[in-house]
């Protein structure tokens, strides 16, 4: 380590602030698997989704209402409506029906099976991907599951998913009917109110981080519904689609491992979550953990970021 200079100007964090803020965002466009060569990337924040950034699951289970003293019926109703929107979006636009049984950890996981052909006139609904499944006997028109052709069609879907996400992350309303659009706005507003602006508080930290380093999402929701949630809750701009990982199949610990191999270990990782899996996974990888169990924790997080403590 050596001796410190008295003024401390040589400290590496000073140089970071001289870099333009948009830089981290640009680097995020790299696909999964390639090492980020961004020398300025100092920190990567690994966020949990439910009950950390958004309040959703606990609306349904009643735990939120109980913990924060809200009317259970109202809360439940909001949760159910939101859930309906999420799965409707997932089914209608994000191929959830096709992908539910074979959902991936990361949107680029099957990219190697893609042949890159033009998809502008491709018909996903009639390409034989899903139908009476596997092995199809005589007369079957559906593709054999697991075969080369089937994998290619799978890859097409994830490619299209990416396109949709990138196209509508700033404006998810464009994917919904006017009626659903209004419903979504109303729901979000009511949830904000009943959760004492939980999401907007979290968003402050997310935006601050995005300005100088990077946000990654690691959720136990399946990938496709997770994308739906992110879009519907208006988080598409803070999480590039390549930065979203679903831990359903492999667990958070393995996801963290994948992220470390992607970004290297010269970066400092900070895990943010409401406990349970992420805390344990963080400990396994010796990553510092910031617990979110109340509103105040989100505020403290923002404060710590503003004061340059994190």
């Amino acid at each position: 380590a050596g001796m410190a200079l008295p003024t401390g100007e040589s400290d590496q964090d000073e140089t970071n602030r001289k870099n333009p803020p948009g830089k981290a965002k640009g680097k995020a466009k790299k696909s999964d698997g390639s090492q980020s060569t961004d020398n300025d990337l100092e920190r990567i924040f690994l966020w949990d989704l439910d009950e950390t950034i958004i309040i959703f699951h606990s609306l349904l289970t009643g735990s939120f209402a109980q913990k924060f003293g809200k009317d259970p019926a109202t809360v439940l109703n909001l949760g159910l409506q939101m859930e309906e929107l999420i799965f409707e979006l997932a089914d209608t636009h994000l191929f959830f029906n096709d992908l539910e049984e074979c959902d991936q950890v990361h949107v680029d996981d099957v990219a190697s099976d893609d042949n890159g052909q033009d998809l502008s006139n491709y018909s996903f609904s009639s390409d034989g991907f899903s139908g009476p499944s596997a092995g199809g006997g005589p007369g079957s028109t559906s593709t054999v599951q697991g075969g080369v052709e089937w994998m290619r069609k799978l890859a097409f879907r994830y490619r299209r998913l990416k396109e949709i996400y990138n196209g509508f992350k700033g404006n998810v309303g464009g994917l919904l009917s006017p009626m659903k659009r209004d419903l979504l706005l109303r729901l979000r507003s009511e949830i904000e109110t009943i959760t004492d602006a939980w999401l907007s508080t979290a968003l402050k930290s997310l935006l601050l981080i995005q300005g100088r380093c990077m946000n990654v999402l690691v959720t136990t929701t399946q990938l496709v519904p997770a994308l739906a949630k992110v879009l519907l809750y208006g988080l598409g701009d803070v999480f590039p689609v390549e930065n979203i990982y679903s831990a359903t199949k492999i667990g958070k610990e393995s996801c963290f491992e994948r992220i470390i191999s992607r970004f290297g270990n010269k970066v400092t990782y900070v895990v943010i979550g409401d406990g349970r899996d992420e805390e344990f996974a963080a400990k396994q990888h010796n990553m510092p953990f910031w617990r979110i169990s109340s509103h105040g924790d989100l505020i403290s997080l923002h404060q710590a970021l503003e004061l340059d403590f994190l």
């Binding site: 001796m3 400290d11 964090d13 100092e42 920190r43 510092p288 403290s300 404060q303 403590f309």
Partner: protein
């Protein structure tokens, strides 16, 4: 997790910040953060905070402070490696400054011997050896059966342990030498305790070499004449006030000493036998 109203961060959050800044190498920021912490005892005894303080103290070259922190709080095992490194590096730097030039391996070894790791950051386990425990075990086992392996056996051992024959030879040579030194020291200790012999016969294990050690037996026996001893002993006993109770047989036996000079042990036994038995009688 106490929440301090004016400060705004819980202990857990403070610990998180300390970890983040340490891992990121942002020691200036860490220093400023620590300085901004309220003077709460509980907070300052938190292990992550202490670790952070140690790192900052090292970074600033404030070694006195560093040693104080490391020695006055018990740290949990998973932090030991990092803190041991700080301790050692700081001592190396200080030694180098005194010497005026960089430290080699021997120099560092001497520093480690002079400033052993405090138990607050070390569990007392032996520092790492050059050879794996498995290899050392094989060598030790062999040594107990035969401390002098032949060249062919050395080759076999080398193969079994993954070492070179030279390494095996050296291991055995060193082991024999150290065993001898340990034995010699052991014997010297017990002699010092029994006879109060003067130290002229002492041989330090580091002196000389193999030749002295291998023909050791005679060198260590004291050059006294046994018969003189026994006479002295008798005289000693007889002049003792308590000896007045001894029977005249002891005195009578003493007069026949001169004819028995060639057999010191017998002399001692015969003279001392009656004396000691009467001593025993007196005692009971």
């Amino acid at each position: 997790m106490s929440m301090l109203p004016s400060f705004g961060f819980t202990q857990e959050q403070v610990a998180c910040v300390c970890e983040v800044l340490q891992q990121g190498g942002n020691l200036e920021r860490l220093g400023r953060f620590l300085w901004s912490l309220p003077a709460c005892d509980h907070l300052h005894k938190n292990e992550s905070v202490l670790k952070a303080k140690a790192v900052v103290a090292f970074h600033r070259g404030n070694f006195r402070e560093l040693y104080k922190i490391l020695e006055s709080h018990q740290f949990s095992p998973h932090n030991h490696p990092k803190l041991q490194q700080l301790w050692l590096k700081a001592h190396y730097v200080e030694a180098e400054k005194l010497r005026g030039r960089p430290l080699g391996a021997v120099g560092k070894y001497r520093v480690r011997r002079k400033f052993p790791l405090p138990r607050t950051i070390w569990d007392g386990e032996e520092t790492s050896y050059c050879f794996k425990e498995k290899s050392r075990g094989v060598l030790r086992e062999w040594y107990t059966h035969n401390p002098y392996p032949s060249p062919r056996e050395k080759r076999e051992l080398a193969e079994a342990t993954g070492l070179t024959t030279t390494q095996v030879s050296n291991w055995f040579k060193n082991r024999r030498q150290r065993d001898r030194a340990a034995e010699a020291k052991e014997r010297e200790n017990s002699e010092n305790n029994n006879t109060g012999a003067n130290k002229q016969n002492q041989l330090s294990p580091l002196d000389g070499g193999k030749s002295l050690m291998s023909s050791s037996e005679d060198e260590f026996s004291p050059p006294q004449s046994p018969d003189q001893n026994s006479v002295l002993l008798l005289q000693g006993n007889m002049s003792h006030p308590g000896a007045s109770a001894y029977s005249m047989t002891g005195l009578g036996a003493a007069q026949s000493v001169h004819g028995m000079q060639g057999h010191p042990h017998q002399l001692q036994d015969s003279l001392l036998g009656p004396l000691t038995s009467s001593l025993v009688d007196l005692g009971s």
